[in-house]
């Protein structure tokens, strides 16, 4: 029997060991290792979340017995549990979906794309789990780099000139972002002699060194999260990657740097940034919603439309900063709403990109203008696409509805009605770009659609399953989640 806290280590080390093993094994071994890691990783995520749920207390693990500030602690609170479960679900679905694409036939020389894909999938997972669990800002820097180094090759996996250029642009943005983040780490260490999140939260006072550090780190992380106006790298990168990789990047990778921002603002330097700064972040988020949605409306290609929709949906997350800052009831509702938006978008967007991938495979193109009658030719895929779209629009019953309703209620409850206006406009715009795809597809064209390739049923089922998950998230009650609250108030008292 493994001690529950040891699971935190395994959550990071299992996919890390997967990377090493898959590279050592090569060829067909890589996929087998990845499948084992997916199964094990899901079990670990469930076990951690179950422990938190049943005990109602956060978990922590001190690596090597070296307590912070000298050593590093891993910590799992309610937010970590939510993110562990989300990444396990989405990565599991992506892994199963990608088995048809990244095949290494028996007895043939090792192929490039499958080996790279499976290794990078586990690399992304290592980075994500490290972001969810690491309790130290420098370890989080290494975790961010794990994400970058495994995300960039996924963008250029197909080796086409445009995607190579998109990958290089992404890399440069991400590098500036991580160095700015590291600069903030240096300042904080210089000020307080520790980078442990809990210790910092006790020591940090509102003084110049903290302000500069927080500003630099937030700017760097915003570049990695593609917050408007630093979003330029995202659409070509996410639209150019192969479908399974796009799903991974849009659903999870950009969320890593966002959660790190949340950890900084709420856990490690709570109450340092004033309301003005929080309003500014949400204003940038609002601009992202409007600009991203309008640009999504104008795209000719499906995958680019979905990528711009990611820019918009990321914007909603930034309402967390002004709405969830304090400790009241509305704030707790906003906290659940913001994190639910993140989870719902992750699940829905992964389903949507995979659906787009199947559409592209079936038609041989992804021009929205050529979608007439697609609903009859690919009913399951279009149904899944529509279900995922409901979540993006915020229609009930869907995860997106629950999240947006909570954010909307909280913003009115806190007297910040202007964010409610943006949320509603964003929903309308999302409906606009979704129906631009769905209307011709469901209406049917003059001639029946000729499919270039057949799509296997299991792959359609995976996409539909994930889209249904996005819908099921809508069954969540419209009140603060108890699991998500675990560790929010007690975390400061827990470190040894």
């Amino acid at each position: 029997m493994i001690a529950p806290a040891a699971l935190l280590v395994l959550a990071i080390i299992l996919p890390a060991a997967g990377v090493v093993l898959a590279l050592a094994a090569g060829g067909r071994g890589a996929e087998r290792v990845a499948m084992a890691v997916i199964a094990g990783g899901a079990a670990i995520a469930l076990a951690i979340a179950g422990t938190l749920w049943s005990t109602g207390a956060p978990l922590s693990y001190i690596i090597g017995g070296w307590a912070p500030p000298l050593g590093i602690a891993l910590r799992a609170d309610g937010l970590s549990a939510f993110m562990l479960l989300t990444s396990a679900l989405v990565i599991g679905a992506i892994g199963l979906f990608a088995r048809a694409t990244y095949v290494q036939p028996a007895g043939t020389p090792e192929r490039r794309a499958p080996l790279v894909f499976w290794i990078m999938l586990m690399g992304v997972w290592t980075g994500l789990n490290a972001v969810w669990l690491a309790g130290d800002l420098f370890s989080l820097y290494v975790a961010l780099e794990l994400l970058t180094f495994s995300a960039v090759p996924l963008v250029s996996l197909e080796g086409k000139p445009e995607t190579l250029a998109a990958a290089l642009r992404y890399m440069l943005f991400a590098l500036i972002g991580s160095i700015l983040y590291l600069l903030g780490c240096a300042l904080l260490y210089g000020g307080y002699g520790t980078l442990d999140i809990v210790l910092l939260s006790r020591l940090a006072r509102p003084e110049p060194v903290v302000f500069v550090a927080l500003a630099l780190m937030t700017a760097g992380l915003a570049a990695k999260t593609a917050l408007f106006p630093l979003h330029l790298w995202l659409p070509p990168a996410h639209a150019g990657a192969p479908a399974a990789a796009s799903a991974l990047l849009s659903a999870l990778v950009v969320k890593g740097s966002f959660i790190l921002m949340v950890r900084l603002w709420f856990d490690s330097l709570p109450g340092i940034a004033g309301d003005g700064a929080a309003q500014f972040m949400a204003a940038l988020g609002s601009a992202a919603i409007i600009v991203g949605s309008v640009l999504a409306l104008r795209q000719e290609r499906l995958k680019l439309m979905i990528a711009y929709s990611t820019v918009a949906q990321i914007g909603y997350l930034f309402f967390l900063f002004p709405l969830a800052g304090a400790a009241g009831d509305w704030e707790r509702l906003a906290w659940t709403g913001g994190i639910m938006q993140l989870v719902a978008h992750a699940v829905a967007k992964a389903a949507m990109f995979m659906a787009a991938g199947l559409i592209g495979e079936a038609l041989g193109h992804d021009r929205i203008a050529g979608f007439a009658g697609l609903g009859r030719a690919l009913p399951v895929v279009m149904f899944a696409f529509g279900l995922a779209g409901m979540s993006l629009m915020g229609l009930p019953p869907s995860g997106g509805f629950v999240a947006k309703a909570m954010l909307l209620t909280a913003s009115i409850g806190e007297g910040q009605w202007w964010w409610a206006v943006v949320i509603m406009i964003g929903g309308l715009l999302a409906a606009g770009y979704m129906f631009r795809v769905l209307t011709p597809a469901l209406a049917g064209g003059a001639a029946p659609v000729i499919l270039a390739a057949r799509i296997s049923r299991p792959r359609q089922a995976i996409v539909l399953g994930l889209a249904i998950c996005a819908l099921l998230l809508g069954l969540m009650p419209l009140r603060p989640s108890a699991l998500l609250e675990v560790g929010r108030t007690t975390q400061a008292a827990e470190v040894r």
Partner: protein, 311 residues
């Protein structure tokens, strides 16, 4: 102003002058050469800051191996280098304003916060005897913050995989780098035969001495990588095909050993990545030796680039 401070000031001026020149040089190749010199000067600055371990890493990795990658790239891109127009003036001014603000804020903080900074040096030194170590930096890397070091090894593997992923499909499993038609260069071949044995001795020494003095797995690995690259440059050995089993084994054995030793820690009271008191030092040296081998091969292959030829 003391003489030592004057020397520091001169070093700082040289470093900054080179930095500006690297930004301003009209062509890439001289800028890259300037960057190598910059890295070496920076290593001196690290010595002045009493950070011998960092100085060695900066000279070997920050300046040396990075320089090798950048020089090779600038040579390959030289013929195609075009004059791209810089961004419009308002954008340049905005960038100037932004970077000026950051510099001013950092400079202000450096000047305003005087006196000793909070430090973990006491704690770090206090626990070293239990590890059988004398070098606190090695202690931090291999024990106190071993998780970072372990994840950094995974970053290295992912970077290598990322570079390999840029191969064209038909060259997958092939040999890195463009084919070299070697003009026989007697002097270089002689040196490539003469230096590696010495380099290997030095690398082992640096690895070994890292337990007590500046040095360690990374610095030793970088020297080994440099020796290997020299042999490849002289044309004595071609780069290995990346499908070779020994290549896969060498790059993964270090990280795998590190993870395995970390996991055996679960059997000890202090858990993951802890070392048993009695054999801490030999165990750490053993892990570091295997890591040195992996680091050397990974660094060499990172410089060699993606496969561009069939095996």
């Amino acid at each position: 102003m003391s003489l030592a401070l004057l020397a520091d000031a001169a070093l700082v001026l040289l470093v900054l002058g080179l930095a500006f020149w690297i930004n301003a040089a009209s062509r890439a190749f001289p800028a890259v050469v300037g960057y190598v010199a910059f890295g070496l000067l920076l290593a001196l600055a690290w010595l002045r800051l009493s950070a011998g371990d960092v100085a060695m890493t900066e000279a070997a990795v920050g300046s040396g191996v990075t320089g090798a990658v950048l020089i090779a790239a600038s040579v390959r891109l030289r013929s195609a280098e075009t004059e791209a127009p810089p961004p419009a003036l308002p954008l340049r001014l905005l960038a100037l304003l932004l970077s000026g603000l950051v510099t001013a804020a950092l400079a202000g903080l450096v000047l305003w916060t005087t006196g000793p900074a909070p430090s973990l040096a006491d704690q770090a030194v206090q626990h070293l005897p239990g590890l059988g170590m004398g070098n606190a930096v090695t202690g931090v890397l291999i024990a106190y913050r071993a998780l970072d070091t372990l994840l950094e090894k995974v970053v290295l593997l992912l970077a290598l995989m990322g570079i390999w992923s840029l191969a064209k499909d038909r060259y997958w499993g092939g040999i890195p780098g463009p084919s070299r038609i070697q003009p026989t260069n007697g002097a270089l071949i002689l040196l490539a035969r003469l230096l590696p044995p010495i380099g290997i001795v030095v690398a082992v020494y640096i690895l070994w001495v890292g337990a007590t003095d500046p040095g360690g797995a990374f610095q030793g690995g970088a020297i080994l990588a440099a020796m290997w690259l020299l042999v490849m440059l002289a044309g004595l050995r071609d780069a290995p095909a990346i499908s070779r089993p020994w290549v896969r084994l060498c790059v993964t054995v270090g990280p795998a050993a590190f993870i395995a030793v970390g996991l055996t820690g679960f059997a000890l009271p202090n858990g993951f990545l802890s070392y048993p008191d009695s054999i801490a030092k030999p165990l750490i040296i053993a892990v570091e030796s295997v890591l040195t081998l992996s680091i050397a091969v990974i660094l060499g292959l990172l410089v060699a680039g993606p496969p561009e030829r069939q095996p």
